[in-house]
Amino acid sequence: MSFKYPVVMPKMSMTMETGELIIFHVKVGDHVKSGDVLFEVMTDKIDMEVDAPADGVIDSLLAEPGAVIEIGKPVLIMLTDTEVMAFDFGNEEVEAVQVEQIEQVEVKIAPPTAAVILNESVKAVPKARSEAAKRGVDLRTIAATGPDKTITMHDLNNAQVDPAMAARQKANRALIAKGIEMSRGIAQASFSRTVNSDFETATLIRAWASVLRSRPDLAIHTHVGVALIIESKYGSALPVFKDPDHLAHEDLKALVASTSEAAKNGKVPLAMLTGATTTIFDVSRYSMNSSTPLLFPNQVTSLTIGYGTESEKNISLTIDLNFCDFYDGALLLDALVASITKH
């Protein structure tokens, strides 16, 4: 027997609330295989294809191309025999449906427009500014060699910038900046400890997840999702490791390694784009001792790992003071340090 299964508007970034349906690639009655492209959506200048989560038949299309749809709301209904995915659409709680999507998705980018590229924060000669807008180049990506660090036409012409890449970086940066901006007003505090540096990233992720799980009072989510900031060719990527403390150490280690590698190339599995409850930023790989503490929206904590000496690292914890006081914060960091030192 077939079950009705709604394919919903996915949440593709932490600030995304709605997405625009661009086009359907299927019509009612089509037989689809798991992984076939069902439709394309657009948000924050990013286009993405949404694939069939399982084999089945298209039952109905619930929106017209051009419609703006809230995340979690159904876009189409498919009939599937795959019981594990099956869901009775009679239930109103469609938000509860989580599409298990393990395909690696390559995000497509809309062509850059002049309006997106204009910015006031760099000095450039007028011609360079107008040319950069025309070419879709972000002037912040250009090294200035002119007097008073002004970008000249020479600088612009010699810069090897891929406009699509620049636009992608800008969109990505805007997403992260918006998130940080949203949480800037939150009362927060940071603590630092120096620890022995002989721990792996996977160990840290696991230990931090366990510490957080032991403190349900700090949680505004039922799961623990550890986001790891990774420098990708498009800028910062934030893959989320969900409940990493439930995975075997070797499995997590392999997952961190493969995800990091994929993220560097700008690919993060769709399922790993959401669900972060805390964030880890490791600046020690750049030989930095510390960086500005970050707190993303809907997250109570974040960790920054800095370079100490050859054998030491600095771990700093930032907490939302609405959820814990200074003493709690200190205990939390203490517990983390104890946990990774033990390993």
Binding site: P126, K127, T152, H154
Partner: protein, 332 residues
């Protein structure tokens, strides 16, 4: 037709004589323009050629001279006034700015003031602060006055004949140091005219646009020659009339070169050349600029008497050369 190389004084005299011959209502008046032949020898023998009725020696009374000319112009004559030094126009400013410039407007166009006021200006003669000023912005800022600043004999002739033809007042500012210098171009024979309000592209290049007025056109020319040997090619533009001002060639040139250097002799503060910068900054060609606009102008001081200081107070060839080279080298 032979190619005649005249000095600016000769070219101006020739234009006046042509106008005298063509129109009986044209006459010249001023201090020492008659028997003496003009303080800088511009009118020379005109007194003897045309007689005391058409070449009038006046008392030392600038307000009276210009007032008489305005009255004559209103009653059908075409006076050419010579004020010995442009500094002395300060004495005559009520007649120039309040009467000559405004009568046509205030009487609804019923009357005209076809007067030309010629006057030598500028520094470089060791005549100190009250005989060396460049007062271009004084006149250029008065609506109702047209202001001509010739940089060479051929232009001076054609522009002066157009100025005499003009039905309303024209201020004709002649640089003293140019009077005795032959131009680079021959002066055409006969009754030829150059329209007012048309800038001249003196030479064309691709690396830099220089806009200069009066004697600074000549200094900039030297720089263009010198730098072309270094591979820097420069477009030199002479507005010729600073009011009205023809900016179109400047825009078109900056669209090609992307760099603009402006040069004037008068003080930088509130100077005429600032108008060129303002119009460029507000134009569609602003987006063509690949370098900040550079201004060279006189210092904001009275012209000193000491020759070394007098020279240092206004842009010289070396100053223009350094500025031009820097713009091109620093802004690529």
């Amino acid at each position: 037709m032979s190619e005649r190389m005249l000095t600016m004084a000769e070219a101006i005299r020739e234009a006046m004589c042509i106008a005298f011959d063509e129109r009986p209502e044209v006459f010249l008046l001023g201090e020492d323009v008659g028997i003496y032949g003009g303080a800088f020898g511009v009118s020379a023998d005109m007194y003897h050629r045309y007689g005391a009725e058409r070449v009038l020696d006046t008392p030392i009374a600038e307000l009276g001279i210009v007032g008489a000319a305005v009255g004559a112009a209103l009653s059908g004559m075409r006076p050419i006034v010579e004020i010995q030094f442009s500094d002395f126009t300060a004495q005559a400013m009520d007649q120039i700015a309040n009467q000559a410039a405004k009568i046509h407007f205030m009487l609804g166009g019923a009357l005209h003031v076809p007067m030309v006021l010629r006057t030598p200006q500028g520094s470089g003669t060791g005549a100190a602060a009250q005989h060396s000023q460049n007062l271009e912005p004084w006149f250029a800022s008065v609506p109702g006055l047209k202001v001509v600043v010739p940089s060479n004999p051929a232009d001076a002739k054609g522009l002066l004949l157009s100025s005499i033809d003009d039905p309303n007042p024209v201020i004709f500012l002649e640089h003293k140091l140019l009077y005795k210098i032959p131009g680079r171009e021959p002066v055409p024979e006969g009754s030829t005219r150059i329209p007012l309000g048309v800038s001249k592209v003196v030479r064309e290049g691709k690396d830099l646009t220089i806009v200069a007025t009066g004697i600074m056109v000549n200094k900039a020319w030297e720089v263009c020659e010198k730098l072309s040997a270094e591979g820097i090619s420069i477009t030199l533009i002479d507005p010729r009339t600073i009011s009205p001002l023809d900016m179109q060639p400047v825009f078109e040139s900056v669209d090609k070169t992307g760099r603009l250097l402006v040069v004037q002799e008068g003080p930088a503060h509130a100077g005429f050349i600032n108008e060129v910068i303002a119009q460029m900054a507000g134009s569609a060609s602003f987006g063509s600029l690949i370098a900040p606009i550079k201004r060279l102008a006189g210092m904001n001081i009275p012209i000193p008497y000491a020759p070394q200081l007098e020279k240092a107070a206004v842009p010289q060839i070396e100053d223009i050369e350094i500025a031009a080279r820097e713009i091109v080298k620093n802004w690529r």
